[in-house]
């Protein structure tokens, strides 16, 4: 593992000895990680060209896809654990001394002719560049060491840990939770067996946006109870779900529920009921029915003869259906508000009227106990990436060569060479500024 990391010269190389160690080192290797990530990308790429439901069923939820994901998780886990010690050593136990020879050989280095307390001047310049400094006495002379951005070394660990947390939270959430959909209109109720609670929809209100072409907002007032005890009572609408016990009830969409009244022309008997789109309105006991197809709150007809709704304002509500007789589609009916259509049936003529309409809300109900951990994981991941890519660890060493009257500075940047070079240029400038003033 360690040998892959090009820019870590300070570490000891750990040579795996036993087969167990060799296997662990393979399972935790970055090469394996790269291969697994590439594999996941390629599989996903092909899957996106399949219809979504098929891709979910046969790829994303398949045992082998989840298996590869888990394997990547294991790989990441082993890798992260293995990297903890070397990275902490690298970050927390820097080599504070360095020989002049080693400094001169560094790729980022400078040599400055200087007299009169050179290390003090250098230390001042180091500090100005934001470095924390220490001076260590060695038999060859004093060595100035300065560093910054120490936390940047831990960026990869925090990121990897957060990713593991997210994977585990997603697995935990899907193993302990459930997903369900249901719907309701004012006065209706339903029971959610997985959560053992009952939902009573007390009101469903539609509020039109200022622009009538925008989908209106629909507000549902509901009471959620278990064994007669109220758990919550609240209003939900789009983007404002109700949450309790790790369970969330969302508004996903709404439907119009036309109220259709059937009137027996012979007896004058009338009965009103609410229907959903796709429902059958039975007209007799011989199977004659109207299949409801569509509902338009503000009906209009295009030049091509296709019906459409001008907007969401309920100015000209029309329900469209198809009369089906003997299993055959006979004709379309356009039911306008309180304008009866008379349909011949085995039981005599029946008057069909649209007498009003209501709104039904559709809810998606899900329980996900992993949600808080997913959130923590997301925050940690952002932090980890910030630490990785925006906190640049850099280290500098300086020694003074009395004979040559020269200050030698060497620097090493972790992930940021240009920045380290620029920092050294600044340090150099600062020291040279000091040199001029003391020379004067």
């Amino acid at each position: 593992m360690v040998k892959e990391v090009a820019d870590i010269p300070e570490e000891q190389q750990i040579v795996p000895e036993s087969p167990v160690k060799q296997i662990l080192s393979f399972l935790g290797s970055m090469q394996l990680g790269i291969i697994l990530l590439l594999l996941l990308s390629v599989i996903t790429l092909f899957a996106t060209f399949r219809p979504m439901q098929l891709a979910i069923e046969y790829v994303y939820n398949s045992w082998w896809f989840l298996g590869i994901m888990s394997f990547a998780g294991l790989n990441l886990f082993i890798c992260t654990v293995e990297r903890c010690r070397p990275l902490s050593m690298l970050a927390l136990q820097p080599k504070k001394t360095m020989s002049a020879e080693a400094i001169k050989k560094m790729q980022i280095n400078a040599a400055i002719k200087l007299t009169g307390e050179p290390l003090t001047k250098a230390e001042k310049a180091f500090k100005k560049a934001g470095l924390r400094t220490v001076v260590t006495a060695t038999p060859e002379g004093a060595v100035l060491f300065g560093e910054k951005g120490k936390f940047g070394y831990f960026g990869s660990i925090v990121t990897h840990f957060s990713l593991l947390l997210i994977l585990l939270a997603a697995a935990y959430g899907s193993l302990t939770g459930f997903e369900d959909t249901n719907g309701g209109y004012a006065g209706s109720n339903f029971f959610v067996p997985e959560g053992r609670f009952r939902v009573d929809v007390t009101d469903v209100r539609m509020v039109q946006e200022e622009n009538p072409v925008i989908r209106p907002r629909v507000y549902t007032e509901m009471t959620i109870t278990r064994d007669g005890q109220t758990i919550v009572q609240d209003t939900l609408s789009i983007n404002y779900p109700i949450r309790f016990e790790g369970t969330t009830i969302y508004h996903t969409t709404f439907h119009y529920l036309p109220e259709i009244t059937l009137k027996d022309t012979a007896t004058g008997e009338a009965e009103a009921s609410k229907f959903m789109m796709g429902n059958k309105i039975n007209l007799d006991d011989q199977g004659t029915h109207i299949q409801l197809m569509e509902f338009f709150p503000n009906f209009s007809m295009g030049q091509d003869g296709r019906p459409f709704s001008l907007n969401y304002l309920p100015e000209r509500p029309v329900a469209v259906g198809i009369i089906v007789r003997d299993g055959q589609r006979e004709a379309s009916v356009f039911l306008q508000l309180n304008e009866p259509e008379v349909v011949e049936t085995a039981a005599g003529d029946v008057e069909v009227l649209l007498t009003g309409f209501d709104v039904a809300s559709v809810y998606s109900i899900s329980k996900n106990l992993g949600r808080p951990y997913l959130f923590i994981g997301s925050v940690l991941m952002t932090l980890g990436l910030y630490m990785s890519f925006f906190l640049f660890p850099s280290r500098f060493w300086a020694v003074y060569d009395e004979g040559k009257r020269t200050l030698f500075i060497g620097g090493r940047g972790y992930r940021n060479r240009i920045g380290t070079e620029q920092a050294l240029e600044k340090i150099e400038e600062e020291i040279k500024k000091g040199r001029k003033s003391s020379d004067v």
């Binding site: 790269i34 996941l40 790429l45 925008i214 989908r215 459409f308």
Partner: protein, 295 residues
């Protein structure tokens, strides 16, 4: 249900005109900056600062366009390909200008590769739809439906344009690296291109910048989806393609650490990542279906 009257926000003729003129002007200014950077690359060094100034002017005009559009649509302009595309170009220019300012050496050579990419994105918004009839870029002023009225959407879009900007910059560096390897180092172009080790660093930093923003983009999208659709991940093609892009850049960031994966392999990975990003934006919309139809 509503295939007719689009229900647009009424915009005054003046507002419309200002918006369109600013768009054209900014595109022309970006084009001039592109020419400037290319002349600089051909060895006329004095053109570098001039091109850089032109780019800043283009950026300011473009900013004025975005402000006008914001006023005209009465909301942040981030819905649909036209608005998103403009924000994306704007963010790309901003990140590049910032990098030019940060790297005191002034990497004008990068500009010669970045600005043509910006012009490519402009082409997608303007001429490509007239060449490929299946692609239609609407400029109409649409109001936001309730599901899109969320602060998370704002975070989602802002982070995505900066993610895409970082990846575009990384791809520009990848192109340069590729050319640097292929052309004679004594040729005019060979001399104009920065050293490979600088390109490597530039590409890495740009990709890392893009990666951080792409991550926050995915996270904010997931949080928003959780609030409005009841699930944080829907396996929708657009989500999956942003994940593919993320995976590819993750592979690149790791590959850079691994001996044997450096050099042209990293150039290839960044290029694949850029294509994946472009496909997430453009390809998914026209070739695959899903719920992310708004851009």
């Amino acid at each position: 249900m509503f295939d007719r009257p689009p229900g647009l926000i009424p915009v005054s003729p003046l507002g419309m005109q200002v918006e369109n003129v600013l768009f054209m002007l900014s595109m022309i200014a970006y084009l001039l900056a592109t020419i400037g950077y290319l002349v600089n690359l051909s060895g006329k060094k004095e053109w570098g600062p001039f091109a850089s100034t032109l780019l800043k002017v283009a950026f300011l005009v473009h900013t004025a366009f975005i402000v006008t559009r914001t006023i005209n649509v009465q909301r942040p302009p981030f819905v649909g390909h036209y608005e998103f595309g403009n924000l994306f170009i704007w963010a790309t220019a901003l990140v590049y200008i910032w990098s030019e300012w940060r790297l005191k050496d002034k990497y004008f050579a990068v500009g010669a590769f970045l600005t043509p990419l910006a012009m490519l994105y402009f082409a997608y918004l303007t001429v490509i739809p007239s060449i490929i009839p299946a692609v239609y870029i609407s400029r109409s002023h649409r109001p936001l439906p309730p599901v899109l009225q969320s602060d998370w959407l704002t975070i989602h879009v802002i982070t995505s344009v900066f993610g895409y900007a970082g990846f575009t910059l990384a791809f520009a560096a990848a192109l340069m690296w590729f050319l640097k390897e292929k052309v004679d180092s004594r040729s005019l172009l060979g001399k104009a291109l920065p050293q490979v080790r600088l390109l490597d660093e530039y590409m890495y930093r740009a990709a890392a910048f893009g990666f951080l923003f792409q991550t926050v983009m995915i996270i904010s999208g997931a949080i928003w989806a959780d609030i409005s659709w009841g699930r944080y991940w829907g396996w929708d093609p657009k989500e999956m393609w942003s994940l593919i892009t993320w995976f590819v850049f993750a592979v690149y960031l790791h590959a850079r650490f691994t001996r044997g994966w450096t050099g042209m392999r990293t150039v290839a990975l960044v290029s694949v990542g850029w294509f994946a990003m472009l496909f997430t934006w453009v390809g998914v919309a026209w070739l695959l279906s899903g719920i992310h139809s708004f851009g």
